[in-house]
């Protein structure tokens, strides 16, 4: 298809012609085009269908504020919905499709909705679909969602990479129009570290879209020259295609850089987009202003556009939206549009100016004091109907209408921290208020300075002031001469008395009538107006519609616009893909993985791993012939209890506690006493939360008078360390105690079973006495192994067997596990994983995370006497609360099935042998359960009311979720070796 509306000139590269497809048809454009400009150049005004009524829609703007021209870009797993054609850079082979249209954009069957518009007004679904009630979720809502909406997603995994990054600067300049460029030149020449970010792929802002001169040069040439200088400065970073999306605390800004969106093919290993966090000492918002439309009957027809957008398309992209373009304006900018069009050879049939005293127009007919009251054309504008100053109407043939209702400063980022804009009566617009985010200043059109001269001056002086605050001296630059036209505007929001609907929010199909309905139904607050009508929602966040909606509501309530107020501006400024938010933290890289020192060895053994927080731990080690995990786990348990097993327990938290008050400190953070623990001994310890609930258990080994090693559970390693550090710094700052984590520094293995000592004797050095006398239960020491390597040995047992934990510097962990397995060959040593570990601790009745579940106390755990009353500790007092100290409260006990073949299920609730099974008759619950290969049946531990006094009683373990109830006998939680003879052997 020919580019029938392509003009001469423009800032496009005609040497590089590009082919693209839109809605199944092929077109040509040029490098430098956007999808919207290329379509307009090809005579295509119809670009989408509206949200609710499926009305034909064309492009309204030339920027990121576009409400209408939303398309689906690319195909397959790279399909992206709701892409604004106005900012989609054209590339060779670009594929775009219209969205929210079926079967085609030109003939959309869903346009039938428009016929029923009287029934589909604001909030209609709240009123209409009231009955029957269950239908809302299953019938009505799905149908409504299907009928209305924007783009669709592919449901395929996004193949692109996204990065996150961090930048630092003295001055962040947001927007590279005349204001931003003047600021950047001023700051750049001073040597300050400057970041200049602009969402466009070509910096210069309106300078690229206007024909105004700056000094002797055109605006775009001046911008190009300024950018060339800035590019040569090492202290200036130019970031095109980068939208600053939010102003956050302490001068931190979020910015999305679109690195590859404009490329036909993704480059391997390179990100599609980068989410930057910019740490600025100062920031200047130079984001310009947005033109606003005027509402009139049928103002949504393709071809009705903002006047500034028309100038952008004509001047920058050499694409005329139509051969004949009429103007509808309330200010002098409309006249500028007419002049530009006429200069470019585009016919301007009329300038319709609501001002009776509108200035004269050269080359076009001026209809002063006139208003547009209607438009015609099925899929695109063919004419407008004008009510003249004398009351007569006249139809004017045109393919496009350039509308200008004035300008709104682009102040969104000034409000991201609850700043409120102020009303400027001269502009009839909101301007930034005094409560700006820390470090931010606003200059140029964003600050209500709407002429080019004032923009340049504001940028230059603003930069000097911002840098001066930082102690950086900047000199004034030579600002070129530029237009400085005064504001000449008559506030005018919507044309009264039109026969058809006048559209306020094109993206959400909100009309003046909808605003009136909201008012009629008492939704007059702007926040209610927004939610009732959906005005200002969705991808454009009402950038072109909010003011209009406010103005209409103000008119209805009889209040002024500033009294009516604005809704809250929130980040992001423009839509951000979820992938960009996620960055690289996707799939298995969602979180980092921690590997134990024996990980590679365990992989060699064919271990099955399980995630424990970030850790990967061996769950069990299948051997040849084992087809079910239970076979492996049972074997590991039996072999450990029969001879010896080895388990990597590096994941347990290890906290080095030193200082002359280390023992006193531990007395405070543990419920039980540690002050008198002899050097060379380990003690089991229980930590309480401040509310008296038990939260972690572990051991503390005293390596010296002033040196302990505290171990925590794997799950609570970080929490316990954090709590201890808080206690050290904030609760007990007078104590001399120093903490540091050594979890990662030491590889630690449990060696458990009757042959544990024999095995270890082959590994520890000869001068280390680990006999029962020389190294009794709960002993610890710093020793050497394997010929002189420093190591730590602890005689502690989680399994209930004779057991040790041996630790070496982590780099030797792989070698040590191999040495242990080699030394244990004669004892048929087995590695065991977390499953066998769990079975053995249940057999022994040791509490773990299931029991320390955030609701249980030391008393519940049967450890009440551990909470020493001879000293104070965190949680001590609150553990004595009445509700926590009930003598007949929950106690940890064991459970065996009455019939050995029946399972005991964790989570089952305990009920008396007979009677109702209900929450009101609940006797407790089972926390952990397993099959015990030693006992030959399923067993469990859990909490039972008055449990210590109910041994031997038969209860029912009810599992209503799975519909089963099993009779269980209450037994001691210590199924194996209740006297502890094995571990002391």
């Amino acid at each position: 298809m020919n580019q029938i509306n392509r003009l001469a000139g423009g800032q496009i590269n005609r040497a590089k012609e590009l082919s693209f497809r839109f809605d199944g048809r092929s077109f040509k454009g040029y490098e430098g085009d956007t999808l919207a400009s290329a379509l307009l150049a090809n005579g295509e005004r119809l670009m989408g269908r509206s949200f609710k009524y499926h009305r034909p829609r064309g492009v309204l703007t030339a920027g990121s504020e576009e409400p209408n021209a939303l398309v689906e870009l690319r195909q397959g797993n790279r399909q992206e919905p709701n892409t604004r054609a106005t900012v989609a850079e054209l590339f060779e082979g670009l594929e775009a499709s219209a969205q929210n249209a079926w079967p085609s954009l030109r003939f959309d069957a869903m346009a039938v909705n428009d016929r029923f518009s009287n029934f589909l007004t604001a909030g209609f679904y709240y009123k209409t679909f009231m009955w029957p009630k269950p239908f809302w979720e299953k019938v009505y809502e799905p149908i409504i969602r299907k009928a209305a909406g924007l783009g669709s997603i592919s449901f395929e995994e996004d193949p692109d990479l996204y990065d996150k990054g961090f930048l630092h600067c003295d001055l962040l300049i947001i927007g590279a129009g005349p204001t931003g460029l003047a600021a950047a030149l001023t700051a750049g020449r001073s040597g300050a570290r400057v970041i200049l970010a602009d969402e466009d792929f070509r910096m210069g802002g309106r300078l690229n879209a206007e024909t105004l001169a700056l000094g002797d040069a055109s605006g775009s040439d001046w911008a190009a020259e300024a950018l060339a200088e800035l590019a040569s400065l090492d202290n200036v970073r130019l970031m095109t295609r980068t939208t600053v999306i939010g102003a956050f605390d302490h001068g931190i800004y979020g910015a999305v850089e679109r690195v590859q969106d404009h490329l036909p093919q993704a480059i391997a290993d390179k990100p599609r987009q980068i989410l930057w966090r910019i740490y600025s000492r100062k920031a200047m918002l130079c984001a310009g202003a947005m033109e606003r439309p005027i509402a009139f009957a049928d103002n949504d027809r393709p071809g009705v556009m903002l006047a500034s957008a028309v100038r952008s398309y004509v001047n920058r992209w050499a694409a005329a939206p139509a051969q004949e373009i009429a103007i509808f304006t309330n200010n002098d900018d409309g006249h500028r549009t007419a002049a530009d069009l006429i200069a470019r050879g585009v016919k301007v049939p009329a300038v319709i100016d609501v001002r009776a005293d509108a200035p004269a127009v050269v080359g076009a007919e001026l209809l002063a004091g006139a208003e547009v009251i209607g438009t015609e054309g099925r899929l695109g504008l063919t004419s407008v109907t004008v009510r003249l100053a004398n009351g007569q109407t006249r139809k004017i043939k045109c393919g496009a209408l350039a509308v200008s209702g004035g300008w709104n400063p682009n102040l969104h980022l000034t409000c991201h921290q609850r700043g409120r804009p102020q009303w400027n009566a001269e502009l009839a617009a909101f301007v930034p208020g005094p409560d700006l985010p820390s470090g931010m200043t606003v200059a140029g059109a964003a600050n209500g300075q709407l002429s080019t001269a004032r923009a340049l001056a504001g940028g230059a002086t603003g930069a000097i002031a911002a840098l001066d605050d930082l102690g950086i001296s900047a000199s004034a630059i030579d600002v070129p001469q530029a237009e400085d036209a005064p504001i000449a505007l008559k506030p005018f929001w919507h044309v009264q008395g039109g026969k058809s609907r006048a559209w306020v929010d094109l993206q959400n199909d909100v009309t003046v009538k909808d605003v009136k309905l909201a008012h009629q139904e008492n939704f007059v607050s702007v926040e209610h107006l927004k939610r009732y009508t959906t005005l200002g929602m969705a991808t454009d966040q009402g950038k072109t519609s909010n003011m209009l909606g406010l103005a209409v509501m103000a008119e209805l309530t009889g209040k002024s616009i500033p009294e009516t107020g604005t809704t809250i501006f929130r980040p992001p400024y423009t839509p951000v893909p979820m992938g960009t938010m996620a960055g690289r933290a996707t799939g298995k890289h969602f979180h980092p993985t921690r590997k134990t020192p024996s990980h590679h060895w365990a992989e060699e053994q064919g271990a099955v791993f399980t995630e424990v927080g970030d850790w990967l731990r061996a769950q069990w080690f299948p051997r040849q012939g084992e087809t079910h995990w239970r076979q492996s786990v049972d074997r590991e348990v039996l072999q450990t209890r029969k001879s010896v097993g080895v388990c990597d327990v590096t994941t347990l938290g290890k906290i080095d506690v030193q200082g002359k008050d280390a023992a006193t400190f531990l007395n405070k953070v543990y419920a039980n006493a540690f002050a008198k623990l002899p050097v060379g001994k380990v003690r089991y310890g229980l930590m309480l939360r401040e509310d008296g609930i038990a939260y972690d258990d572990g051991t503390a080994a005293r390596l010296a008078e002033d040196h302990f090693v505290v171990t925590t559970t794997t799950a609570n390693a970080v929490l316990a360390y954090r709590n201890m550090e808080f206690a050290r710094q904030c609760l007990f700052p007078d104590l001399d105690v120093q903490l540091i984590s050594t979890t990662e520094a030491w590889a630690q293995y449990a060696v458990a079973g009757p042959n544990a000592r024999k095995l270890l004797e082959k590994v520890v050095d000869a001068d280390v006495d680990i006999s029962n006398e020389g190294f009794p239960f709960m002993a610890c020491g710093e020793i050497t192994v394997c010929g002189g390597l420093r190591a730590r040995l602890f005689r502690i047992s989680f399994s209930g067997e004779l057991a040790y934990e041996i630790a070496v510097p982590t780099r030797y962990g792989d070698a040590l596990v191999r040495a242990l397995m080699e030394a244990g060959e004669e004892f048929e040593v087995t590695p065991y994983g977390t499953e066998a570990l769990g079975v053995m601790r249940i057999e022994k009745g040791h509490a773990a995370g299931n029991e320390l579940n955030g609701t249980t106390t030391a008393l519940n755990l049967g450890l009440g006497r551990m909470v020493s009353k001879k000293k104070d500790c965190i949680g001590n007092t609150l553990s004595e609360r009445e509700g926590l100290s009930d003598e007949s409260g929950l106690r940890l006990v064991g459970f065996k099935p009455v019939s050995a073949t029946e399972p005991v299920t964790a989570g089952a609730h305990l009920m008396n042998a007979s009677g109702e099974i209900s929450a009101s008759t609940d006797q407790g619950y089972i926390t952990s359960a397993c099959f015990s290969p030693n006992l030959g049946c399923s067993i469990g531990i859990g909490f039972l009311k008055d449990g210590a006094n109910r041994l031997g009683e038969v209860l029912r373990a009810a599992n209503p979720l799975e519909g089963s109830t099993v009779e269980v006998e209450v037994v001691s939680a210590h199924f194996i070796d209740p006297e502890g003879e094995r571990l002391r052997a």
Binding site: R193, H600, D614, A745, R811, Y812
Partner: protein, 188 residues
């Protein structure tokens, strides 16, 4: 001499080295580490004894010192990380404890961390995609605690703008390495 063979944090016999256009990422298992914390009330004594042993003043907040054999950086209030070549100073922690006595608490940290040295002209472009350290503001020896790949890491300036060491938790070395390589591929 003991008979256990060490492995690197990435689980190999030899350190991993990755080359990119403008950057080298080198795993460095050849440094011993020890943390030093001054005892309460003995801060001055600790600083004096440490200086006598290490040959430099314990660095102020955000700063560090690079020398042979001992180097170090500030880690927290009255807390420093000391480094020395592993081959000659495997007993770094023990020797440091002997030097500072009851004036300081010392913990062996050698294998608590993995260390990757990043060097080359592409450094800045890569680091800015990894963490919020501002390389431009970092002088020789300066160190920052940063979050990188969700991990608490240190970034230590070895050559301003040209080379840094990144110390991260050893068990997550593979994740950290993946992040470093990913950023290098992305930025260079």
């Amino acid at each position: 001499m003991h008979k256990l063979k060490p492995t690197t944090a990435l689980g190999a016999d030899k350190p991993q080295i990755d080359q990119f256009d403008g950057l080298e990422i080198a795993e460095r298992p050849d440094f011993a580490l020890a943390s030093l914390a001054a005892r309460q009330g003995a801060e001055a004594q600790c600083a004096e004894l440490a200086k006598a042993h290490l040959g430099f003043d314990l660095p102020a907040a955000g700063q560090g010192h690079l020398a042979d054999p001992h180097s170090g950086f500030w880690m927290g209030a009255d807390q420093w990380m000391i480094s020395a070549p592993q081959a000659s100073h495997e007993d770094l922690a023990a020797a440091l404890k002997t030097a500072v006595g009851d004036a300081g608490s010392v913990s062996e940290q050698t294998d608590g961390w993995c260390r990757f040295d990043l060097s080359g002209p592409g450094l800045k472009a890569v680091v800015e995609r990894l963490c919020n350290a501002d390389l431009t503001s970092m002088a020789l020896g300066d160190a920052r605690r940063v979050r990188l790949e969700h991990l608490g890491c240190f970034i230590w300036c070895l050559d301003p703008g040209q080379a840094v060491a990144i110390l991260g938790p050893r068990s997550s070395a593979a994740s950290l390495h993946h992040a470093l390589v990913g950023a290098a591929l992305s930025a260079l």
